[in-house]
Symmetry: C2
């Protein structure tokens, strides 16, 4: 099995040079927040990730969660690992301070979450879901509900779940049929939910289910959905778990991957009805979900990076160790020295770096938005489907390259490469498929916005191109024209969308995924170029400041190399996807259903 080591320096570089964390901390008077703090917590989290969570990743794949006597038994070792995660205070990182959280910015939470998902994605889904419950309750729960539930969710003493999907309501939440009947100060919830991640386990003394359901008099469709808290164990007046609520896991899915993450079918109200408490106002459930959506979707996008990084580290180690063939002098050749293996490793490394840059910048924009920056809000809205859609799609390719580098061994389960590939396959599906992200991007975030956010982003890319253009660095001079051509092509796509796409929404939908992928590769190329620019500046600097000092010359030239590779290897995809967009894929419906 592969060893996972947190890519600390890469994370710090992005926080430092692209996010400009210190500036952000100063601007919003986040006194405790600094690059130094980031270094410390990445280092500490890295230890837990490497020593505890990463080795359990294989265990969990082989011995997935099981349902025994209507109770889910998590994979061996997971309860102890979770306890350690809680004891070390990791659950509290970004929670609001008034409920026991550390109140650190989302961008730092994201930097750390990357490590958890790399080390053990199936495990890390559990705290990820809890974070969603915390967010919902913090934003919309009554003070009473907050008091009873938030402290223990934030400390990690309890975990949280999100109950949305039903057998007939997948991407279409309007079809939700779960019912909630008022009864005194609470409601009785009845119905079935499917695909509930970590819907049950024995790691904590309680589980807080957030459930979408309809009140008796609710309007049809998405405007009649309300959000409820349904605890696994009902609480005493003192807030301690007492008797079991009428909510249970009735089956587990047998999945392609993430075996350690129990995917539950939850049945609410088989007997008297599960007791639940309304969050916020009636019929606002969906809009409450939307407030969490940007963060949740970005979190899944982040998983795309995490699992790719994990796969990259494994592929790199294998390629260094494995020899094939000999030199003329009879020396064995490590396969890392073969051009095509090197190409694949560079594709993985530069892809991961681009994703990390995008996800941390997008995460920082969530922080800026929370502090009232409306430009950042527009960016968050625009970035989110790209982070979710593009990064998870790219992770399919990069985890597959890990198998490819392993050759025949990659297809053998014991090697572990296959697990990352299988685990990754859920990422383009849950929390909204790539198609859903793409419709969101092209519709709400572009056409309905008159492409303002898009124009803003293209302006930023243009500014970077201008900066690059003044450089005399030979590597940057390789990157600049490629980025500029990609920018011009994306500008043509913008114009096309505003003309053709606006006039023909179906045509816009035809090309939506290509538009999303184009934007992903462009954003990646832009941030990689920016990284290279910073690396050149830092490298050429005579007066090294303390930050710059932390980067070795090797590290800085590598940043230029991966950016150069990205430009040669990935930027042509901007044109490919753009050409498909510009065709309008007018042939999408050229066949009748019966001709397919």
């Amino acid at each position: 099995m592969s060893v996972y080591i947190a890519p600390q320096q890469d994370t710090i570089f992005v926080l430092d040079q692209l996010v400009e964390l210190d500036k952000l901390a100063a601007q919003y008077a986040l006194d405790d927040v600094s690059l130094e703090l980031a270094e410390v917590i990445v280092q500490e989290a890295g230890k837990l990730a490497t020593d505890v969570l990463s080795p359990l990743n294989t265990t969990g794949d082989k011995h997935g969660a099981v349902l025994v006597d209507q109770q889910v038994q998590q994979s061996p070792g997971y309860k102890e690992a979770y306890q350690q995660y809680v004891d070390n205070g990791w659950a509290t990182l970004t929670g609001p301070t008034e409920f026991g959280g550390q109140g650190l910015p989302n961008v730092l939470g994201t930097a750390i979450n990357e490590l958890w998902h790399s080390a053990n994605m199936a495990f890390a889904l559990c705290p990820m879901l809890s974070q969603g419950a915390v967010e919902a309750l913090t934003a919309h729960g009554s003070p009473e509900l907050q008091k009873r539930y938030l402290h223990k969710l934030i400390s990690g003493e309890w975990t949280g779940t999100m109950n949305l999907t039903e057998p007939n309501a997948g991407s279409d939440l309007a079809a939700i049929a779960c019912k909630a009947k008022p009864e005194g100060d609470h409601y009785r919830i009845r119905g079935q939910k499917i695909y509930i991640t970590w819907g049950d386990h024995q790691m904590t003394s309680n589980i807080v289910h957030l459930v979408l359901a309809r009140l008796p008099d609710a309007p049809a469709g998405v405007k009649g959905i309300s959000l409820f808290v349904v605890p696994k164990y009902l609480l005493s007046d003192e807030g301690e778990p007492t008797e079991l609520n009428d909510a249970r896991c009735i089956s587990l899915e047998h999945k392609l991957g993430i075996h350690a993450s129990p995917t539950c079918t939850m049945s609410f109200g088989d007997n008297d009805g599960a007791i639940g408490y309304l969050i916020g106002e009636p019929n606002k459930g969906l809009s409450y979900m939307f407030t969490m959506m940007n963060h949740a979707r970005q979190s899944v996008g982040l998983q795309g990076l995490s699992i790719s990084e994990r796969a990259y580290q494994q592929a790199r180690q294998f390629a260094k160790d494995r020899t094939q063939g000999t030199t003329k002098e009879g020396q064995k050749i490590a396969i890392i020295d073969y051009p095509d293996v090197r190409r694949m490793l560079m594709a993985m490394k530069s892809g991961c770096e681009a994703m990390r840059a995008l996800s941390l910048c997008a995460a920082a924009d969530i922080d800026k938005h929370h502090h009232g920056d409306l430009d950042a809000k527009a960016r968050v809205e625009f970035y989110t489907p790209i982070v979710k859609g593009w990064m998870t799609e790219l992770s399919q390719e990069l985890t597959s390259l890990n198998i490819q580098i392993h050759g025949g061994m990659g297809f053998v389960e014991e090697t572990g490469a296959a697990q990352h590939f299988r685990d990754a396959r859920i990422l383009t599906i849950y929390e909204g498929t790539t198609g859903i992200q793409a419709l969101d991007l092209v519709g709400r975030k572009t056409l309905n916005d008159d492409a303002n956010a898009l124009k803003q982003l293209l302006n930023e890319v243009s500014n970077t191109v201008s900066q690059l253009s003044t450089s005399t660095d030979t590597t940057l001079n390789q990157i600049t024209p490629r980025l500029n051509r990609a920018l011009q092509k994306a500008t043509a796509v913008k114009d096309w969308l505003l003309a053709q796409g606006k006039a023909d929404r179906q045509m816009a939908a035809n090309v939506s995924v290509d538009y999303l992928m184009m934007m992903g590769y462009l954003c990646g190329g832009w941030l990689m170029a920016k990284s290279a620019l910073r690396a050149v500046e830092l490298s050429g600097q005579n007066n090294l400041n303390s930050e710059a000092n932390t980067y070795s010359e090797d590290f800085l030239t590598a940043k230029q190399g991966t950016a150069h590779f990205y430009a040669e290897y990935y930027l042509p995809r901007v044109h490919q996807h753009a050409d498909t967009v510009l065709s309008g894929l007018s042939s999408t419906f050229s066949l009748d259903t019966d001709q397919l």
Copy 2:
């Protein structure tokens, strides 16, 4: 589980309009061969594929082959299915008539093999390997060996295996260490072989292992490898299996997919040494392997088509059945009517059609080469790495789209979509990885050939462009400029290879996979355009001949639709890969090993 139905009309269309089977039969006086015969055998094979092999595909995934008491037990039902396959005479299809084969051309064998691999790839690997053994013995075996082994291999009474790989010799056969010691009229073979497909089973009364090993005085490297027949059971003078040879399966791989195909570690000579018989001359084993290689590699490429077709059929059915959302009038909407789902289905269908066109044309060139056509030989050499590399790479994407169309259900194993995705993952690895194919294409088949075969192919594409240019059909007029631009780009790549690539072989290696993928998409686009051209001609024809009559108007317009989609969706990838080639990926080695 999905039902598989042979895409009979599509197969016949390619054989008729692109391969021009009747012309081929006339040219080489293959009296029995005709389109009518093709229709009959596709229909009959389709029945066995649908009724017998296809249902066992899931069984084999759930209950893979197991090793019990040093014997491999195949999946339940497989022995009976294999017997039916043999009883119906399918094993004999292309075998030479002097040993009981039907002597049908390779292109018909390929058309039928597509069905077996679609229905049950793990099963079909067994006869596929036997075909390799037949080919080797037919080409290089002594009359005595042929007499003793060929009849029963061709009838299917026995099966064959290929024993190449060893723990330290993966892609690098020079490292083969297995030993063969002369002893009278035979040899004693000792050593271990890994990844031996269908290396053991109980479906037949014997198994004929073909084994690469070194004679005592053999030169080092690839020039010292000889090829041996090593039967599982030694033969009596009458040619009947008697006692067990000293060759056994000592373990099975636990694989990501194709669970029903036992992947054996074979141990030869644990006791007295396995008795083997030399095929042909000493030290020529590798060159004998090369004579089989084009066919074997094209067969694996074909598997890429087969599994994609299977995945497409499943996705199509699901998309028709599954509803999400309602129209304004309250009618449920089948997801097949959503643009992005339709896009994915069109990507799958047009991708399969392009692959089928390429694989059958390449298969027919093997026939033409066998009949002495030297131009065809050059095409076979050039096509083979493209068929193998591009088609198997594309199958990764298309089997993944099947999961994507299924949404959450695609990630659940019971649906069966995940199996095709898992099974497909081996295809870019075995029988030479994509990287190996790409090196072959760029090196031996292009640069060493002064790009003559490439130029020939570009000429053929150019001819098609010229034919298309004279058409007034509106769909063709959409396709023509796109194909022409792709052709121009490929021509630029040819020039680059002859200039830069020839001067810098490492740079050529950097971009080899991109070159291969570019060629694949170009070949696909060319043949799809040709199909559309034929469809337009047939459709506009007033004097329908009997062949043309077999195609409905719906079928012919669909051919134009998928070709149009291919041009909009896949041809931009020619430019993407070409742009990467033209960059030389000069950054591939920009990082030292330690910087990765």
